[in-house]
């Protein structure tokens, strides 16, 4: 299944009177990896969470596959969109395999199909279902847990993936290999990916396009090459040069 388009139209959001997003518009094309890059507190995570309605916009609209998310039942919407976060949020009382097949379980798949799917997903992210599938999350390394998080997000074959610093809690070497594998995986699967990070190197490594977010707005959208060669303003230049 190929990815689905995600668009933001003039989206505004405040938390406790503080404006977090100010009339943001952005189009994510089907099948592309778009990285939201910005410092912490810039609004990028809020932007991501609008897509699966963990946050609802005050004004403006968010569209997934052409349909406004406000029209969806949040539960149903979320089951169709993969979600992976920093710290992974694996359920510590379930095995790795059970964690991976959680969304299929919510969708009512039968146990055999779920097990099969979990094994397939674990292999996809480079884990051995027989060796790792029966373990508890706390028996895995940080990098392995992140892989499980990705496998879980992919398990129900969603058309879009939302990832919020999913590799944030891994050491630099482990992160690098996770990024490379994720890059080839996302190209292979062709899913639409919205990826939040504050790590410029990560953004350049993974993105088809990067959207630089600052102060509740988008400063520039472009391919990594475009952003590198012609940063739109001093802030964007400062951000990417700060990492160099």
């Amino acid at each position: 299944m190929t990815g689905v388009a995600i668009s933001f139209r003039e989206v505004t959001k405040s938390f406790d009177e503080k404006l977090v997003l100010d009339r943001v518009s952005l189009d994510v094309s089907p099948g592309e990896v778009l990285v939201l890059l910005g410092r912490s507190g810039c609004g990028k995570t809020t932007l991501l969470r609008l897509v699966n309605r963990l946050v609802d916009a005050d004004a403006g609209g968010v569209y997934v596959g052409g349909r406004e998310v406000a029209d969806w039942d949040p539960v149903e919407l979320r089951r169709g969109i993969g979600y992976a976060i920093q710290g992974v949020g694996l359920l510590p009382h379930l095995s790795v395999g059970e964690n991976v097949s959680l969304v299929p379980r919510l969708l009512g798949w039968n146990p055999d199909r779920r097990r099969e799917r979990a094994a397939e997903m674990l292999r996809l992210v480079g884990l051995d279902p027989r060796e790792h599938g029966g373990r508890r999350p706390d028996q895995l390394s940080g990098g392995q847990r992140q892989r499980v998080g990705v496998a879980r997000a992919l398990a129900a074959d969603p058309q879009a993936l939302l990832m919020d610093e999913p590799f944030g809690a891994v050491d630099p070497i482990g992160r690098r290999s996770l990024q490379e594998e994720f890059r080839s995986l996302s190209q292979e699967l062709g899913k639409t990916v919205l990826f939040v990070t504050h790590d410029v190197t990560e953004a350049f490594r993974l993105a088809d396009r990067i959207a630089v977010v600052a102060d509740g707005g988008i400063r520039q959208v472009g391919t990594p090459g475009e952003i590198r060669d012609s940063p739109a303003d001093a802030l964007v230049r400062g951000l990417i040069e700060g990492a160099a």
Binding site: I85, G87, V88, G89, P92, H93, L94, V103, L106, P137
Partner: protein, 216 residues
Amino acid sequence: MSFLEFLAGRWTEILGLTLEHVVLVVISTVAGVLIAVPLGLAITRIPALGRPVLGFAGVIQTVPSLALFGLLIPLPLIGGIGSRTAIIALVLYALLPILRNTVTGVRQVDPAILDAANGMGMTDWQRLTLVEVPLALPSIFSGIRIATVVGVGLVTIAAAVGAGGLGSLIFRGLAMLDSRLLFAGAIPSAILALLADAGLAMLEARLVASRGAPTS
């Protein structure tokens, strides 16, 4: 006559009272669990319930047990002399530790895990049953353990309203100034409390082991 000979002569009576004691503790703790766990879970969903319910249970806890038994006796339907009054008082005492531990256990679940659960598309009920309750189980269980151990002690006092149990030996010993009789009630009751605590601790450890550690 030595204390042991004294016990040997009365062991059937002591055993019978011990059994009565255990039954009272089990009934009141089970009833406490059946009331307090759902109520505690309800509080996590309807925060407005928290203050009045926990407040009520807290006030009960401050009433001395003998006074609570005394207060219940004149009440119609639930009062009177006998084990029924005792059970009601014991259930009331069991509420607070279980309620509080249920609420705390659920509230302590890592927000990242809840976020992931929501993001995966769990309904509120699924999140409660698949995530929050399993992760709160160790905490709920330790509330039950506290309620049980406290219950063993309280049942001895319930003998004052004619509930039976080992407390009746203690009260008789006090009335007759017979320390052997007093110890014949007090020692088994203390042993019972220790056994209950150790037994539930073991059960708790197995529960946690089989479910994986509640930490990330």
